[in-house]
């Protein structure tokens, strides 16, 4: 290796802290980047954690985010390539190692581009300036006569040029520029364009490797049966028939269930089917959906709970008050790739190959389960990571066949590690679809009591929202900060424990509260005898970006025009993850209560756009994901267990149910907002509000079923 890059950690943090607002995306360091495939002794220009340039490999970008369809394998390299002046296809993308310089690695909350926007462009620009300085020094010409272009530095007056590969040794010896000049938006050539996604060829030829495709020499394949009742455990096991299945090697009892380990998945599954298991169903064996919601309702009627946010200010007198109860059910993630993980615990080491949103959490879990290391709660931003317990644990993150928040939890990693440890071989654990649906970490169910008052002009003078559920953190997003002026405002939360595990589900609290808040706003508009679009627009007068997207969606949808047949429109707005979104849904209802969504017009202001096509794709996908939860199904509990098992009873929206979707992007030079989740929150209320116009029925409970819409 050449001399380490001449920048102290302190300098780098200083350089970056100003732009990240202290969000410690781990940083830098220097020089001795371990770039596996680079020949020993070859110089590597490693100006920062994300970037290495060497003579043989050219430019390598280290990606610390998990690719689950949201496009980070393209958008993140674009940020660096823009400033580095290289083409996207000249970059090799490698998964970042779990090392100190990257800090905690977890992908969620629609944060990748938001957090990377300044930092990664600076990373590219720093390298570009040092490469230019290196070339200028070699030619003994002023820096101002040189420019970077397409992976090379060009000396304009003489036409000479050096490729980055030729310059990497010299660049590594250049001082770090004290100030970095970033390109102006009008100079962007990559940002704002739609290059072929870097994973697109692999994903159209079957060569993309997901977790389920991992193959390790000597590997066995396992599947697991969990107790179907939450909180239950194994009472008795007869494994004799399972062991007779050809190819079955082991039956392993672990804390969470019984695993059958075999030569291949089919043998493991047949073995699992042949197990005779008696479960001790535990204290929740009679729990059902009705009991959970009855308890929610009782808590909602009391004044218990904690006040999450409260504001009060003088307001005009109220002339009418509305009250309503809204319910949101449990929802499963149902990623198309079921939960899986491959693990190998051997010789005091643990290696895992896993499609995970949080490699850092996976590493922590694997260290604890595989090597009995103390479990620290490391996966927190701004927390100094103690890496000692994590030594000897290697996490290899694959592509994810969907994430949507499910793969932030690492239960399947713990299991794979425990099974490998028990059998002393590499083991790929694959959950069946049934286990995946029945042992998810569900979008929390909530029960919501709302009360709001209007003054004589239709202004909202008070708003009270009492949320009851099992997770404040996962149920309050989208309820506590609303864009509409409400001088008297209170959100209360009552904790109602239940044994159904909950997790983050695409857009988290916004996924329920988008429906609840925007439906209730629609109720207020109706009570004020105002058009729901104009009611919102008037209230959003002080929020220009919110008003602009709402207006754009309404205009593009031809708001107010009835359209063909008996089609009706509904509108909703959401502000979340740093972006503004409005949607207009156009629906019709048949005599049996069957709903057809014909068209959804979506307007988004997500600040400056890195990859417009990805923005459109994420909004299309978010709308379709949200439509499944609006119209198709839900997770319900009976006899202590999930009553759904596979796609026949947890149906997803299909091609023939998919509306035309028009996405319109508001041009902007504001900092980027998130995009992976923002399509979800407005779709349920846009549809529900349209159905109110169509039928006069105000549906306050998801999913919306035909029986809800048939008026007697």
């Amino acid at each position: 290796m050449s001399g380490p890059f001449d920048m102290t950690r302190r300098q780098f943090i200083k350089l970056t802290a100003a732009t990240t607002g202290g969000l410690t995306l781990g940083f830098t360091l220097p020089g001795c980047g371990r770039n596996g495939a680079t020949p020993a002794g070859e110089a590597v220009f490693r100006p920062n954690a994300w970037l290495a340039i060497s003579r043989t490999r050219g430019v390598t970008v280290f990606l610390a985010e998990s690719e689950m369809g949201q496009g980070v394998m393209t958008s993140i390299p674009m940020l660096i390539a823009e400033e580095l002046e290289v083409s996207l296809d000249a970059i090799t993308i490698e998964r970042a190692p779990l090392s100190e310089e990257f800090g905690s690695q977890s992908t969620g909350g629609s944060t990748s581009v938001r957090q990377g926007w300044d930092v990664l462009r600076r990373a590219g620009a720093t390298a570009r300036m040092m490469l230019i300085a290196a070339a200028a020094t070699k030619w003994a010409v002023p820096v101002a006569e040189c420019r970077a272009e397409n992976g090379a530095v060009v000396h304009a007056p003489s036409g000479r040029q050096f490729s980055y590969r030729e310059l990497c040794d010299d660049a590594a010896r250049q001082p770090v520029p004290a100030e970095v000049t970033l390109k102006q938006p009008e100079q962007f050539r990559l940002i704002g364009s739609n290059p072929l996604p870097t994973d697109c060829v692999a994903k159209t030829t079957g060569s993309a490797i997901f977790g389920i495709d991992v193959n390790v020499p000597g590997m066995l394949v396992a599947t697991i049966r969990h107790c179907p009742v939450f909180g239950g455990r194994l009472a008795r096991l007869d494994e004799s028939r399972a062991r007779q299945v050809p190819g079955v090697r082991h039956v392993v009892v672990i804390e969470s269930g019984v695993a059958v380990v075999a030569d291949h998945f089919w043998a493991a599954k047949q073995g699992a089917d042949a197990l005779t298991i008696e479960w001790d169903e535990g204290p929740h064996a009679t729990l059902d959906q009705g009991a959970i919601f009855a308890r929610f309702a009782a808590l909602a009627e009391s004044d218990a709970g904690e006040i999450v946010r409260e504001e009060s200010a003088p307001a005009a007198p109220a002339v009418q008050t509305l009250r309503a109860v809204y319910e949101a059910p449990f929802q499963a993630h149902a990623t198309m790739e079921p939960m899986n993980c491959t693990a190998y615990v051997h010789d005091g080491r643990c290696e895992v190959w896993v499609p995970t949103q949080s490699p850092s959490a996976a590493q922590e879990v694997a260290a604890a389960e595989g090597l009995s290391r103390p479990r620290e709660f490391l996966n927190k931003l701004r927390r100094k990571i103690d890496r000692a317990p994590l030594q000897d644990v290697q996490v290899n993150t694959t592509l994810l066949g969907g994430g949507f928040g499910r793969r932030l939890d690492q239960d399947f990693v713990a299991e794979a590690v425990q099974i490998s440890k028990a059998v002393g071989a590499p083991v790929k654990l694959i959950w069946t679809r049934e286990e995946d649906i029945q042992h998810d970490h569900y979008r929390p169910a909530t029960y919501n009591r709302l009360t709001a008052s209007l003054d004589a002009s239709g202004n909202i003078v008070s708003w009270e929202h009492h949320i009851v559920g099992d997770s404040l953190g996962k149920s309050s997003g989208g309820a506590t900060h609303l864009p509409y002026p409400m001088p008297n405002f209170r959100v209360r939360f009552s904790q109602a424990d239940h044994p159904v595990p909950v997790g983050s589900w695409r857009s988290v609290g916004h996924s329920q509260n988008g429906f609840i808040v925007e439906s209730f706003i629609d109720e207020l508009a109706a009570a004020a005898r105002q058009d729901p679009y104009h009611f919102r627009l008037k209230l959003l007068a002080q929020s220009p970006r919110a008003a602009a997207v709402t207006k754009l969606a309404a205009e593009k949808a031809g708001w107010g025009s009835t359209g063909p047949g008996n089609r009706h429109q509904g509108i909703a707005y959401a502000s979340c993850f740093g972006s503004h979104v409005a949607q207009v849904a156009e629906v019709s209802v048949d005599t049996q209560g069957g709903v057809r969504v014909h068209r959804v017009v979506c307007a988004v202001d997500c600040g400056i756009v890195v990859n417009p096509d990805t923005v459109r794709a994420q909004l299309e996908g978010g709308i379709i994901f949200g439509m499944t939860a609006t119209l198709k199904g839900a997770i319900t509990i009976g006899k202590g267990r999930v009553q759904q098992a596979n796609f026949h009873d947890f149906p997803l929206l299909r091609m023939d149910e998919t509306p035309l979707i028009d996405v319109h992007i508001v041009p902007s030079t504001e900092a980027p907002g998130g995009i992976g989740e923002v399509g979800v929150p407005p779709i349920a209320p846009a549809i529900a509000n349209a159905l109110y116009v169509a039928t006069g029925v105000r549906v306050r409970k998801l999913p919306i079923l035909p029986a809800d819409l048939i008026t007697s």
Partner: protein, 159 residues
């Protein structure tokens, strides 16, 4: 459940494998032969993620016993084209269809089978052929456009 020897014609190559006759073709492809482009998702023929072509028809390999696949022409995503340039694959890239990508082998195989049978499918043809393939990311609008594009490109190609 005694194992038997099966001769499978997969992507124009002959594979001899020994398996339980009831073992689904999906797991023969993935775990015995190493063709992992075909994916598992539901195991009950309800999502289409595992579609392959059997004598040109799109079939869910997760519910097809290997015994029923023997002696027939099996095409997987890996064998759809030599270089990944089947008109459907090209159209898929032009329309930027994949998101997570997991269901896309099934989507592409369903689309290729549709176009082999119906050169210029209308929206109803596309709905009928493609509604059996689920996508949680919601790529359906692009799947539709890519099929229309592939049909158009095929129509233009010299025969």
């Amino acid at each position: 459940m005694t194992r038997q020897l099966f001769k499978l014609h997969i992507n124009d190559r002959l594979h001899e494998i020994e398996a339980d006759p009831g073992m689904p073709l999906l797991w023969v492809l993935r775990d015995l032969i190493g063709l992992t482009g075909t994916k598992y998702s539901c195991g009950i023929g309800a999502c289409g993620t595992c579609l392959v072509h059997i004598d040109g028809k799109a079939v869910t390999s997760c519910t097809l016993p290997v015994a029923d696949a023997a002696g027939r022409h099996i095409t997987t995503i890996e064998g759809l084209s030599d270089t990944g340039d089947h008109p459907v694959q090209r159209a898929w890239r032009d329309e930027r269809v994949p998101q997570c990508g997991y269901c896309q082998s099934g989507q592409i195989m369903a689309a290729a089978a549709l176009l082999a049978e119906t050169a210029a499918p209308d929206d109803n043809d596309i709905d009928r052929a493609m509604s059996r393939v689920l996508c949680r990311c919601g790529t359906y609008p692009r799947v539709r456009r890519a099929i229309q594009r592939a049909a158009h490109d095929q129509g233009d190609a010299p025969s």
